[in-house]
């Protein structure tokens, strides 16, 4: 399946923290660069998310803001 979201960053799961409804997933996309994702717990289970798993962080370009110092 190919999706219209412009950003698909390959990475590896570094940490998984399941809550009651949501699961927090920390993804390392390059050495020292991490992205935090919050998905529903059921999605996390259905995708088999666990530490070490390779996956993609998918982000729509309109959801990326920029900030300058």
């Amino acid at each position: 399946m190919k999706i219209s979201a412009r950003n698909a960053l390959k990475g590896k799961v570094k940490q998984v923290t399941p809550g009651a409804v949501n699961t927090e997933v920390v993804i390392e996309i390059s050495p020292g660069v991490e992205i935090v994702s919050i998905i529903t717990k059921s999605s996390g289970e259905s995708l088999g998310i666990e530490v070490g798993k390779e996956l993609y962080a998918i982000i729509k370009s309109t959801d990326v803001m920029v900030a300058v110092d």
Copy 2:
């Protein structure tokens, strides 16, 4: 200013494509890893976005989906 969004990825602007209302900004966050951001044209001008500028890509963790092969 410190913001509640969990992801603030440092990077450098690689390409700027202004449209009529929106501007597309390509940000290199590590060698070979790029994020595409679409902001309003007025925000891009107000922040002085141009190729080579250092900035942060700001993304809420709930806007990061994950996908597996």
Copy 3:
């Protein structure tokens, strides 16, 4: 590729309206039920979106609000 977004509604493209930066896609997901999607023009081209094409409308569950009369 399998994605964490909970909603993947199968449908057929009924209308495509390209703008300068964005493309509007009208998707029929069942007889008389349509969903409008706005994606970047480059995504639309890269995915080969055209009238009649079968595809999925992907929506995160947190992006679905509800309203009552």
Copy 4:
């Protein structure tokens, strides 16, 4: 009240799963076609969401991605 979101899909609540803060609502918009919505628990209570209730799934067109096989 008339809202700027382009998608207002009429449906019937099929399942309600309240959590501590959020409530998951499964809406059937046509036979066999369901949309999952996550709203705050207080919104769910204030709108009187319960199985069988008729409502609308409201989605901004920019929140609808597309994917192809």
Copy 5:
């Protein structure tokens, strides 16, 4: 129609800037406090948005970030 979004701020349209696809609407919600909204041009026309019109700015609570100095 009553919607699950937690924020419905009453205001008056102060400025409307139509683009090719989108329309920017500046809404004054109290003296000196303005909110900028970008909606599709067709939504703006369908809702009859014009300077002076009373309306509501609708925002999901999960779309509101906070920042501190």
Copy 6:
């Protein structure tokens, strides 16, 4: 830090309700005008959110819908 989001509304925290994963923050942006924000619990703690604190509600203009009666 200066961010591309168009809306930065100054206000004062009126109420904080921490959940297991998320925290709900009620912000008064002018007398009688409040905005509800939901952020992750860890963001709330890291920013030191508490009743009476001055902060900004940050909202992307594309996340602001409009509704008319």
